[in-house]
């Protein structure tokens, strides 16, 4: 089902907000990416097919632009095309937003919806400050929550923060499209990368800290809030255990007792949800490790799940691609990259376009 059948979107995002336009294409909108005549700079982003660069060989570009159309042009082209579209997706530095005249398009009398992802949002004292993934994790207070206690804060590999900002822009844009259809008026959806990341801290974040003044400092995979929570050693890597609900702990405690003979784990005082073991997490972590280090990740995963313990292996990337669950769900599809089929998460509607592949077709309509 193409949920967004008939909706037309112009795409001038950079890496900061490209989720928005890619997902719009997945959902069935017609998404036209406006590229400079010498090619989108994002076509030069690694990794490349067989590690050989080329305008259609960036796997990054191919994934984030799958199912879109491409028009080669400039700011004049943007002005000409905009009136024929329902939405414009922008991301990048605020200065580029100004250069493109996106604000004027958003404030125009038409029904165009403009979404914007910028490092710090389109107002405020740091509107014009620069930054991307790394700076956003720092500015949103998320980085200091991640990493090992004795080293600098660290951010995950894979630009997972940018995705979050693009998703807030997408939700705002979809809501604004409904209002535009109803009122005949568009608007601006303004997303700050900093705020997107700050929102992600909310489970362990400022408001929790103010309430109990317990700093949720980074401590690897473990949390200060109780145990067992985090990675535990297996024979061949690590397993993640988080005994969130009382029943999870009861099942784990019985298992530890059966395998290690340790009586203390069955103590009534340890029963309950994670925070019931706030003061005893070193102890329960120790007992848990004594169990996990005897088995492989896969054995722990299957036996633990049989017993009703919330746990899962810490997979590396080859293990994710080999996971039978994803296979059974029909999770994978084949994305064509420069004529070569590559396995990728499903959801897209066709390959990424070649530079200007749809210029004639689209310009003829506008």
């Amino acid at each position: 089902v193409r949920l967004l059948e008939g909706i037309r979107v112009l795409d001038v995002t950079d890496e900061l907000g490209i989720w928005t336009s890619r997902r719009l294409a997945d959902l069935g909108a017609e998404v036209v990416r406006l590229e400079p005549v010498n090619g989108d700079p994002l076509r030069r982003r690694p990794p490349f097919l067989r590690s050989e660069p080329g305008p259609d060989r960036s796997l990054w570009w191919a994934y984030w632009n799958a199912g879109k159309k491409s028009v080669a042009g400039d700011a004049t082209t943007l002005k000409r095309l905009a009136p024929s579209f329902d939405a414009l997706c922008f991301s990048g530095p605020a200065a580029r937003y100004d250069e493109l005249g996106a604000g004027r398009l958003a404030a125009g009398s038409g029904r165009l919806v403009v979404s914007s992802v910028t490092p710090f949002g389109l107002d405020g004292p740091f509107r014009d400050w620069d930054g991307a993934e790394l700076v956003a994790w720092a500015a949103g207070g998320a980085a200091p929550l991640v990493g090992d206690a004795d080293r600098a804060p660290v951010i995950p590999h894979g630009e997972l923060g940018l995705i979050v900002a693009g998703r807030y822009a997408l939700m705002g844009l979809l809501a604004a499209l409904r209002a535009a259809r109803r009122d005949g008026e568009g608007q601006l959806v303004d997303v700050s990368l900093q705020e997107a990341l700050a929102f992600l801290t909310s489970e362990t974040g400022l408001h929790t800290f103010l309430d109990d003044l317990i700093p949720r400092t980074r401590m690897g995979s473990h949390r200060v809030s109780g145990g067992p929570f985090g990675h535990f050693p297996a024979l061949d890597g690590h397993i993640h255990i988080g005994a969130a609900q009382p029943a999870h702990w009861d099942a784990l405690a019985r298992w530890i007792h059966e395998e290690t003979g340790e009586e203390a784990v069955l103590d009534e005082s340890l029963r309950g949800n994670l925070s019931a073991r706030f003061h005893t997490h070193d102890l329960v972590d120790f007992f848990t490790g004594e169990l996990t280090r005897r088995h492989t990740r896969q054995d722990l995963f299957m036996e633990g799940q049989r017993r009703g313990v919330t746990l899962a292996p810490v997979n590396d990337i080859p293990a994710v691609l080999a996971d039978p669950q994803l296979e059974a769900r029909g999770f994978w599809d084949v994305l064509e990259v420069d004529g070569t089929p590559v396995r990728a998460p499903r959801g897209f509607r066709g390959r990424a376009p070649r530079l200007g592949e749809h210029t004639e077709e689209v310009m003829a309509r506008c």
């Binding site: 939700m171 700050a198 990728a344």
Partner: protein, 438 residues
């Protein structure tokens, strides 16, 4: 005259746990939907099992369950009805509610909704054009892990995200305190529901959206997965380094455990940094003038940059570098978020009505709409706070009937308790300058 919010007239029933389902509902509430949490006190939201750490140990759970601070960010702007859908009368009430609703979102275990007789087909009988979005960890259809017990942090491990987070010379640090995968589930659901509403407006048709939190998480790693499939290249965690630029890291600032993030994207930005740091050895080192040179000697580069950054506060370094066009920001500690000038200027911290505390803090929704801005005024509801509205006004149950359902254990009410104060209420106003402190 302000325009009606985009989702005016849309009612959402939410059966949810912790973060994924609740954030989905929160986003829809921000756009003007009426979102009703259907909460079973016998199997409550995980986040209701425990409350504020400072509560006296003899506080009844019926009060404790409304106090956890993170509830407000995940549930601001919603209503709550306390209802056990596993009782026949409770299920009947859910179906009657569905008949006057537009969307149902559930992030329960896969087996739960069908076992309660609340699958898509059941609810479609009550409301033909219902938009039904289920979000269990592994989807509703049969699959190897469908009935596995899991939650967000497990899924981050399973999806490869934990493995990719940390230092190359150590075991994975994991994404730790950030509930990333719970959030991606909430996004996935809200995006699909919004698109389904747009379609229903035109076609009058509802839809079943069978989503899986695990699938949603793995999708985020697209190019990383493709790199292995196409090239046999298994990407690894890299600390804060990236292959294309340097310096790109989080460096020590003055003070204990204080840090500043610096990302130099090109040679022009490097020269700008060197002007700011004029006189430092690295600033005149010709090896560092090109990205290739900086990447080749990245250990040395980072070490010498650190000796410079640790002499200043992160705020000072960031101001000087940003003035020169170099991306930088102090790595904010939680308390720093309360006084960050940019977050304050954009109104990131919000206060809303709360039944136990008068007002409670929550984080603003990050999508700011210019013409139909979000205007959520209430923090998290207490469990059962809106029974009278939901069961009385929407379903027409009179007071006697509601009292009978409470006695029968089908409906859970929110007992009255003396008003409470968050411990920070007296001093936080000096930092968070917000209107309306109790």
């Amino acid at each position: 005259v302000t325009a009606a919010p985009p989702l005016a007239g849309i009612r959402v029933l939410e059966f949810s746990q912790a973060v994924a389902g609740p954030t989905c509902g929160r986003y829809l509430a921000e756009h003007g939907a009426e979102v009703i949490r259907v909460e079973n006190a016998r199997h409550p939201d995980n986040l209701r099992y425990s409350g504020s750490g400072w509560l006296p140990v003899d506080t009844p759970w019926e009060v404790v369950r409304d106090t956890r601070p993170s509830l407000s960010t995940f549930n601001a702007g919603k209503k709550s009805v306390g209802l056990d859908p596993s009782r026949p009368e409770g299920r009947d009430l859910v179906l009657r509610l569905a008949a006057v609703s537009d969307v149902v979102v559930l992030n329960l275990a896969a087996a739960t909704a069908p076992s309660l007789g609340l699958g898509y087909e059941d609810l479609r009988q009550a409301r033909a054009d219902i938009i039904y979005c289920s979000l269990p960890a592994f989807g509703n259809r049969p699959s190897p892990y469908r009935d596995f017990k899991t939650w967000g942090p497990n899924l981050a491990a399973l999806a490869g995200i934990d493995y990719l987070t940390g230092w190359p010379d150590r075991p994975p640090a994991s994404i730790g305190n950030i509930a990333y995968v719970d959030f991606t589930g909430g996004f996935e659901a809200a995006e699909a529901i919004l698109a389904a509403i747009l379609r229903r407006d035109l076609t009058g048709e509802g839809i079943e959206l069978d989503l899986a939190q695990y699938d949603a998480a793995v999708t985020c790693l697209g190019p990383v997965l493709m790199d292995f499939d196409a090239n046999g290249h298994a990407q690894e965690r890299t600390g804060n380094r990236v292959s294309s630029m340097a310096p790109h890291g989080i460096f020590p600032a003055s003070g204990h455990d204080r840090w500043v993030a610096i990302a130099v994207e090109d040679d022009r930005q490097w020269r700008a940094l060197c002007e700011v740091a004029a006189g430092e050895g690295f600033a005149s080192d010709s090896r560092f003038l090109t990205a290739r040179g900086r990447l080749e000697a990245v250990d040395e580069l980072e070490a010498s940059l650190s000796t410079w950054t640790q002499r200043f506060s992160g705020r000072e370094t960031a101001h000087r570098l940003q003035a020169a066009g170099v991306p930088a920001y102090p790595a904010l500690e939680l308390a720093d978020l309360a006084v960050d000038p940019q977050l304050e200027s954009r109104g990131f911290h919000r206060l809303g009505a709360h039944a136990r505390f008068g007002q409670d803090l929550f984080a603003a929704y990050p999508a700011r709409l210019s013409r139909t801005p979000a205007d959520v005024r209430s923090a998290s509801p207490g469990l059962g706070q809106h029974n009278e509205y939901v069961l009385g006004r929407l379903l027409g149950l009179d007071e006697g009937e509601r009292a009978r359902l409470i006695r029968a254990g089908v409906v859970f009410e929110m007992p009255e308790a003396p008003p409470m104060k968050r411990p920070y209420t007296s001093w936080i106003r000096h930092f968070l300058r917000l209107e309306g402190w109790p």
